[in-house]
Symmetry: D2
Subunit: 415 residues, 4 copies
């Protein structure tokens, strides 16, 4: 008997997040044989860079009915409704990580639940392991959107705990195994339009440099061009809308930034991070376009956002990033913070110029019709000066008043 709560009632139909790869194909078969239930596959294009048609063929081969196979291009929705709102917050987890994996999970969960509701499925399943954050992100999404759903997490339930056991299961059930999948991968990978990440095996010792062959989205900064690339990004209400004057849809824009980032070796990150499930892990992230976007957004905010707004955003950012990292996208507190952040972006419009060079992104210019830096704004009327330096004396005196009182107390006490 399984230990999973999911096994406590019979499952009739399950919607599986299916990549078409070996692991999720094994899960597919395992669901059929273990639960005896109808399996619906959902395969999404989030910009991971793989063909989706083979997934359909493989699903058919594994006995999935054509009407139970769902394949969807989610790239625009992903960037428009998930990546961009998050970048409005300048979100970085633990000061450095741009949350590329975290932000994709809620969208996949949402789509699985939509299909489950449409087809009357009572369960959903994913291929995330029992030690990572992704299981949490998937499942919090599932439960938030369909509170009575049964969640099946095969990696936490089955006894296929070794590579050998997995391959035996695959062979036994005639699941095709690509030649290069026989051996164990030297690291595991996640990818979408925002980033690629790798962890495990060869990356496990945080004292050792990440080998170059682990990177897939960026060239080595040392091999990047010797002359910088200069680009202009246009922003509207906090979101990037154009590159070098060319208007682009969200996904097209990020795709183009990725190409620019790749060519200039931008967005590599070697990080030891704290997982929500309690341990530290070491990961390698490549976020070429996202890294450019991050600096671009900071730059346009620097002239269009008021200090009070900017500092409030900065103070709340770590909490916002933590919520996304931990899988709480569909929570009231994330939505409340989003309302606060979005409120601030009304005038975050303008263009920034960036220099891309051998791994670095350098802000070199910013302009906006709504600039708060604008000299005309500082001068309030003809001939008048808005700033009187004598005001500074009073400003300082009153700010100092409590410190003087404290100083006086110390003096009185002989401290």
């Amino acid at each position: 008997m399984s230990l999973s709560p999911s096994s406590e009632k019979p499952v009739k139909k399950v919607v599986l997040a299916y990549s078409g790869g070996l692991d999720t194909s094994i899960i597919l078969k395992w669901l059929q044989t273990t639960y005896g239930c109808e399996v619906i596959t959902f395969t999404a294009d989030l910009g991971q860079g793989e063909e989706l048609e083979p997934a359909r063929q493989k699903a058919l081969l594994l006995g999935i009915k054509p009407e139970n196979i769902f394949i969807e291009d989610l790239r625009e929705e992903f960037v428009r409704d998930y990546v961009f709102p998050m970048f409005r917050a300048n979100a970085q987890y633990e000061g450095l990580y741009l949350l590329g994996t975290s932000i994709a999970r809620p969208l996949i969960a949402k789509k699985q639940i939509e299909i489950a509701e449409k087809l009357g499925a009572d369960a959903v399943a994913h291929g995330a392991t029992g030690k990572g954050n992704d299981q949490v992100r998937f499942e919090l999404g599932y439960y938030a959107l369909k509170p009575d759903v049964t969640v099946i997490a095969p990696w936490r339930e089955w006894d296929l705990t070794s590579r050998t056991a997995l391959l035996e299961f695959a062979e036994k059930h005639q699941i095709p195994i690509a030649k290069d999948k026989r051996g164990e991968a030297p690291f595991s990978v996640d990818a979408n339009l925002l980033h690629a990440s790798s962890e495990g095996k060869v990356l496990e010792d945080p004292a050792l440099e990440v080998p170059d062959y682990v990177y897939s989205r960026t060239i080595d900064p040392e091999k990047a061009p010797d002359t910088p690339t200069i680009i202009t990004i246009g922003f509207e209400k906090g979101d990037a809308v154009s590159i070098d004057g060319e208007a682009l849809s969200p996904a097209s824009l990020l795709t183009k930034l990725n190409a620019l980032g790749r060519a200039n070796g931008i967005g590599r990150l070697d990080l030891v991070e704290n997982r929500f499930v309690g341990m530290k892990s070491r990961g390698m992230y490549e976020t070429p376009g996202g890294t450019i976007l991050y600096f671009g957004h900071r730059a346009i905010e620097s002239i269009t956002l008021d200090r009070g707004a900017a500092h409030l955003k900065d103070e709340l950012m770590p909490k916002y990033a933590e919520l996304i990292y931990n899988g709480f996208w569909f929570s009231p507190e994330r939505e409340m913070l989003q309302a606060l952040i979005d409120k601030s972006q009304e005038f975050v419009t303008g263009t920034v110029r960036l220099k891309l060079y051998k791994g670095g992104v350098h802000i070199i210019g910013r302009e906006s019709p709504y600039s708060l830096y604008d000299q005309d704004l500082v001068t309030f009327e003809e001939g008048a000066v808005a700033y009187d330096h004598r005001d500074a004396a009073g400003f300082i005196k009153l700010n100092a008043l409590r410190l003087r009182t404290l100083g006086q107390r110390k003096k009185k006490l002989g401290l």
Copy 2:
């Protein structure tokens, strides 16, 4: 009659923060002539890269008594008691600025007050203008440490409001004027061991790139070596103590990091920031060694700091940085936050390896005897596994409970 509160009572002795340059020499003379008071000069070596003996000669020339001339090398104290504590917090103002100017002011203020107390001076004076942050930082320090002090801020008081007026005053009072000081400087500069900054004039249009001649502490990344430099920094309790195995005093260490940073074009920042006094300004900062230190500290914390400690620090950092930027170093709230930060650094000990390359600092390894990443730690006893992936199911279920309740409410309402 002057508008300054400082003029309301007669001043007998004033301690002036004196650089030996033209501007503070004019201030010196102006204090003598306007207030008719005895002037004490204080000149500090904070690593700004200038000889101090000429300041003594000039002070003597301007009629300061030898016993009223104070010159002090503060580099070690500056790095040990100000820069390092601040770097324990990973402090960045507005997400990017490492606070190089801000952190030097409290120390200068403290030394002026110490001299004032020793010599019975009733006033202090500084050369910061009436539109910037530095006047606030100096004066909040003065008032906190000597609440009854009279503060004289000549730039807010006098009528020498043009370059011409200043030079006329200088000539009238036989203050030597270096040839290159006759014209107006194309930008103003502040420098100490942590950084150099420039602002004003040629930098005023934030749409235009900072001209290369403005940089003084770093070479252009494009002219930096084609092969990376790899270094190891040793940390103890949150502070850097060695480079490549060589133990170094705080100031020596930062000096060496500055040389490494300079050579690799590291630490340039072109920023539009929000001043405490209310307007935006555009500045150029060079923090070569500090930038390396920032990434090194983040790296050593990543393996030695617990998640709860790390996230709390990240959440409080913006407030801490703002306090320092705004000049509240000597405030109870800064001291309280420092107590919290310092408490977290007990085991932030170990070494990190960094790759410096054409403007970039890349973390490539970290090790510590106190690592929380250590495999041995994760395994609690022989043969036992600390992490049971079945626990994750319960963990997720309870984290999801409130989201499911919310989802149930929505469903009930047909939302």
Copy 3:
């Protein structure tokens, strides 16, 4: 020549916040004689409990043209757009003060500016002193809404620095002086529909109890009825809408709560607080209806608000309260926080029962169609239990993982 920046350019028309009392009548005349400008009076009914018609008569008497006299009943707008939004946040300054004075200032400032825009006035004036918070609250409002306005703060400008001087000025200008205004008041008062406050003179020693005659809005708890009063308040989307089943407009509702509070001695507060301008002051506040409202709102939130939402609100409340106290109602950061708070209130609907007894408000019941406490919600389907206590083991294990790792490090180090 005045020191005020306001005096630097001639003033043509000024909109004065005019109560009709002696002090603002003196200000009215002083503006006419000092600035030689046209004065427009604005008198608002914010529920302070005074007739407004006498203010009109007095303004006419002092030579104000009828078309320059503005009198407006703002009670509904005050409660609906200022008091209620603030109570959604459960705002308390320094843990105890319900911000009764602070919240009225922005509305008065807004109305003055609206009149100034309509009549082409270039200046505004108020009667707040130079040592308090109200001057800041008025003026930040003025400047935010009309950045080029000239602000006149007579108490900071004139030389009428004693009671005698004021009375002489009044007599000289034939301003009627009520008999009881000849002597100095034993304390100063502010009042509106939300509260009455007193400070100064007899209240200045914080060691001494506030004399009973200072209270005007509540009876002494000791003299309140010996039997409790039990009431029901209905809430919709975070705002109170009914009492004991009777639907009431915002101002009517608060008026009724005030009567209930007064009769039961509720809402007295004796506080030493920290002013924005830097010193501590001691005040006495009476907020009878507001105190009841505060507990009622907390009670209805307790069953309708999710934990994540509730805790986020609690964490941000001190900052929100501080912004209002300091006068930053019309700031982007207050508006951002308001967006966050309002987002949370969608389902804060239902009724609460409260017991009012001799100064105390006791929550004794709460119900809501949107309750998250509802048993039916906790059970997700027939016969099934949403909560499996075995999940708790996993939940605890993973929450403990990082603490165990820390414990292991300590043990290894022999600590």
Copy 4:
């Protein structure tokens, strides 16, 4: 096979938190019969108001060896090292709850672990249920202090899921059953020197008032004396040290405050709260002495704590309270916050006067040798005034500058 992780390895010796009551006696026997292990009992006097000797007799009767019975009076340690540090923070969970249950758990956990280390026990056990917060608080403490410990939580493991099953087990194992324990209790109770709490059964409907017979620590406010009681509490460095001039040890002081609170009907709270394990629950709390202490501490802080310190504390309080509520007393982040809080309390010394009356605590006076309110402090030197109201103009002007810039932008845009 049990689902508990605790069952995966044999247990030799277990330290049980033993009250001597029926439930923990059943647990004791169940541990012996299920695990076949040696049981060590630990019974603490935390001021719950019960004799401890009967617990010893009962343990002996149930076969525990005399040397395995530990009974300890922890009242002083409890108040000094847990209650007082928490009150320095003015901690309230969800705005109202003084954390009476939460704060006792870490101390019990710590003592159990100390005994386990001394006697070489490999396991600990507690009697908290699987649906509450206490299991989390106990176990996080255990794991933090002894990471390799085996935790046994019988309520999550056994099949004694009904009252009948429990009684049968008791009878079968000859555990004496008091007559009044045969029926099911109408609510469950927790008590210690800080508070008593009740929940469950008759309290489950949050719409219904708590019946009077549920209260045990306070008399009904309506039955409290008709004349107020006035007391003086002395504080030193943030902790209460005397009542009406009489120096008292921490536990004696809290005991006396409890008596005063009881007699005046103070400290009753009827609350719907959010549990860490995910659901809402309704509880009734009585914290008579703690409620008085809370207001007393706020009052003494109001004159001795600087604004910056006070506001920082207020902003961090909700997080601190949440940590304690959730069971993270022994976490680095709680210790970091404690360091911050303790740093602020150096001068929180003086006396406050409070009026206790029919359920209410009213602050009526406060004095301190370190008062920051003191008039002498505000005046810095003879004849001089520290506060110049003209300074306020500059203070406001610079604080308004960014708001004016924003206003100008709006105007430019015609908004």
